[in-house]
């Protein structure tokens, strides 16, 4: 009985469904981000990147009006992310899914993108495999192996023989550990020890002491952005590890703007690899940072640039399709797209639909009153190494 009813109703709904889709003069983009909870700042900064791009470029593309619908996923909640994506598609009739700060959420929503054949732009989540989950998905942020394999190789080539790795004990941390060690050892370095730190871990000093006991030439660190970078920086300093005696390496989170503000002079000398920093020296970036500050009263970070470039990709793809929002047309338009971003040259790999970009090697240095990341080397045109190794 129930099943029969379900079927009947389903049929009715299918009849009623498509009416709202016709005479489409607007393109709707459903943005799913954590606007609340532990990762709220990531969501806010990314969304500000989206807003800034739309302020600068208007809300009309190829004769269509762009409308953004924002949804809060509240944290690591893939079932919520998937439901929101479903609802955005079936109820709000969105043409494009975007945002996605966290890997599990992006993975779950990618299934909706694949099933409904909707273009999806991942603007932050950085686990390598996400792009393989839907053929209509492109990424404008970064992947963890992209940075850390390039960095591991660079560190070994710079003459460092032994490192100790200290990473957060969860997906991205393990990715960072594996990619850094792999590249570092392939280039002739030796990993003398490693430790994984629980994600919910407010005090680092015991782990830092362990790293110090191994007496390595350098320590490689990965912790998620937020409260932890400053905490680990302070733990290093108070356990007597400073870049003067032990080289400190890390993915860019550990010298994010607010971490540097809290660490102050203790941070000077920390070498990190990342794809964007607001201090990147190019006219385009200076303009971007000024506009961002004017609009939101703070500096952009990697999340902002992910959102900004994500919108850039959506706008450009829509221009190319002449306003057609079909998933296949949009992803075809996005493949191979190349542009100059405030972060430098970047493109979408036509094969993997993942981001290709420059990885910058930076050192924290005193610039005037403050400590800032100063780029002193770079690795250009870096692809995601994991997918390059996957059997085709």
């Amino acid at each position: 009985m129930l099943r029969a009813m379900t079927l009947c109703l389903g049929f009715l709904a299918l009849l009623a469904g498509p009416t709202s889709g016709q005479a489409q003069q607007t393109i709707k983009i459903g943005v799913i981000l954590p606007f609340s909870g532990q990762f709220a700042d990531t969501g806010v900064q990314l969304d500000d990147g989206i807003k800034l791009y739309m302020q600068q470029h208007g809300d009309m593309v190829a004769g269509k009006k762009i409308e953004v619908i924002r949804k809060d996923v509240g944290g690591i909640a893939p079932e919520v992310a998937k439901r929101l994506a479903q609802e955005l598609v079936v109820r709000d009739n969105v043409d494009i899914l975007a945002g996605f700060a966290l890997t599990p959420n992006a993975l779950a929503a990618a299934e909706v993108s694949a099933q409904a054949k909707k273009f999806m732009v991942v603007m932050n989540a950085a686990t390598s495999i996400i792009t393989t989950k839907s053929p209509y998905l492109a990424r404008t942020s970064v992947t963890v192996p992209q940075i850390d394999e390039a960095f591991g190789n660079w560190v070994a080539k710079s003459g460092v023989k032994t490192v100790y790795t200290l990473v957060s004990d969860y997906g991205p941390g393990l990715d960072a550990e594996a990619s850094f060690q792999r590249a570092f050892e392939a280039a002739g370095g030796k990993v003398v020890g490693s430790v994984r730190v629980p994600v919910a871990n407010p005090d680092f000093s015991a782990f830092v002491q362990r790293a110090k006991d191994a007496n390595p030439e350098g320590i490689f660190i990965f912790v998620p952005g937020g409260t932890q970078p400053a905490a680990i920086g302070k733990a290093l300093a108070s356990r007597g590890i400073t870049p003067k005696d032990t080289k400190i390496f890390g993915q860019g989170e550990i010298t994010s703007e607010d971490a540097l503000k809290s660490m102050g002079d203790d941070a000077v000398g920390i070498v990190t690899a990342f794809h964007y920093d607001y201090n990147h020296n190019s006219p385009m970036n200076r303009e971007f940072v000024a506009a961002y500050n004017k609009a939101f009263g703070r500096n952009p970070d990697i999340y902002s640039i992910g959102g900004y470039d994500g919108m850039r990709l959506i706008y450009a793809a829509l221009e190319k399709t002449g306003g057609k929002a079909d998933g296949q047309d949009l992803i075809d338009a996005a493949k191979g797209m190349t542009w100059e971003s405030p972060r430098g040259p970047m493109s979408i790999d036509p094969e993997t639909r993942d981001v290709v970009q420059t990885v910058y090697i930076r050192r924290a240095e005193k610039v005037g009153e403050h400590v800032a990341n100063v780029e002193f080397d770079k690795v250009e045109n870096v692809k995601d190494p994991v997918k390059s190794r996957m059997p085709k």
Partner: protein, 327 residues
């Protein structure tokens, strides 16, 4: 119910279906017609309701406050997800196996849980939940760790209904399971066993004195509640075809208590009503104001405490007899 002297008559009277219950279940079918684009939300509400009913059995009826109930929910979810990933995607059997795994774990942990009361009980259930969360995080080769369990592929329900994008199958399936769970819980709480649980809740020391073993009965209900929670988790894994550590998290346990207390404890339908009110409010508020919605949720919670001290159902219950007396 006053005037029914014989306990068996009392229980039989309680077993009878009230018209409002029938109306309630018919109303649960309305989303299919009225709001067909809200079915994914409706099915997640039904799943949360199952989870809340399971907590009500131990909290509302037996007086065991648990802050780690998500352990059983998550265990059911991971079990069902792993079975489907391993190649057996039949939903119904997956549901039962998920429930059984959670029930087994519930039975084992029950031996520890029923030994303690008050704050120690809350903290030990919390500890069990957090430990299981860490185990799942650590065993990333099995569970996918923080990235979540991928590759959960479900076969069509009864061989013919695919889990569709609109959520028709998911809601029909979740609603049917919710109905079955409430039916079973209804029989249980209106049985002599259910009565003895309430007696334990009111005075635990007295029960063994009159020949009813408190701890054994508490273990039984704890196992049953864990099984139902596991079924809820398995349902979530199957309808979303994804499992993450969030299924095991402390936040999920805490939110569940909030949901149950909003609805009203010890009232069977309290969890269901709480799930509907809380999740619809959350969806509406966060849709309107993605960044500050929890401000309004906070106000709602305070309002419930100040104006509906026995939850929504408690509030309704004080209204209804008055009206019937007046008419």
């Amino acid at each position: 119910m006053a005037g029914v002297a014989d306990p068996h008559q009392y229980l039989a009277a309680k077993q009878r279906w009230a018209p409002i219950e029938v109306a309630f279940w018919l109303a649960m079918l309305l989303p299919f017609v009225l709001v067909p684009t809200y079915l994914p939300l409706a099915s997640q509400i039904a799943i949360t309701a199952i989870f809340a009913v399971s907590l009500d059995l131990i909290l509302g009826y037996a007086g065991l406050v648990s802050l780690g109930h998500a352990a059983y929910f998550g265990l059911g979810a991971y079990t069902a997800g792993l079975i489907a990933k391993a190649g057996w995607g039949e939903p119904f059997s997956g549901l039962l196996i998920g429930g059984a795994a959670a029930g087994l774990f519930g039975h084992l942990t029950g031996y520890i849980v029923v030994r303690v009361r008050h704050l120690a009980l809350i903290m030990i259930t919390l500890g069990i939940g957090l430990l299981l969360y860490e185990v799942a995080n650590r065993a990333s080769w099995l569970t996918g760790g923080n990235d979540g369990l991928q590759g959960v592929a479900m076969w069509p329900l009864f061989g013919s209904f695919d889990f569709d994008l609109y959520g028709y199958t998911a809601y029909a399936y979740s609603l049917a399971v919710l109905f079955a769970v409430v039916l079973a819980a209804r029989r249980l709480v209106h049985s002599p066993f259910g009565l003895s649980l309430r007696a334990i809740r009111e005075n635990e020391r007295r029960m063994p004195a009159i020949g009813a073993p408190s701890r054994a009965r508490l273990r039984t209900i704890y196992t049953i509640a864990a099984t139902i929670a596991g079924i809820g988790g398995a349902l979530l894994a199957q309808t979303t075809q994804f499992v993450s550590l969030g299924a095991l998290s402390f936040e999920r346990s805490a939110e569940l208590i909030v949901i149950l207390v909003i609805g009203g404890t010890g009232r069977l339908y309290g969890g269901v009503v709480g799930a509907i009110v809380y999740m619809v409010a959350r969806d509406r508020l966060s849709g309107m104001n993605p960044q500050y919605w929890y401000f309004w949720i906070g106000l709602m919670l305070i309002g419930v405490v100040l104006f509906l001290p026995n939850g929504i159902l408690g509030g309704l219950a004080t209204l209804l007899p008055r009206r019937s007396r007046a008419s």
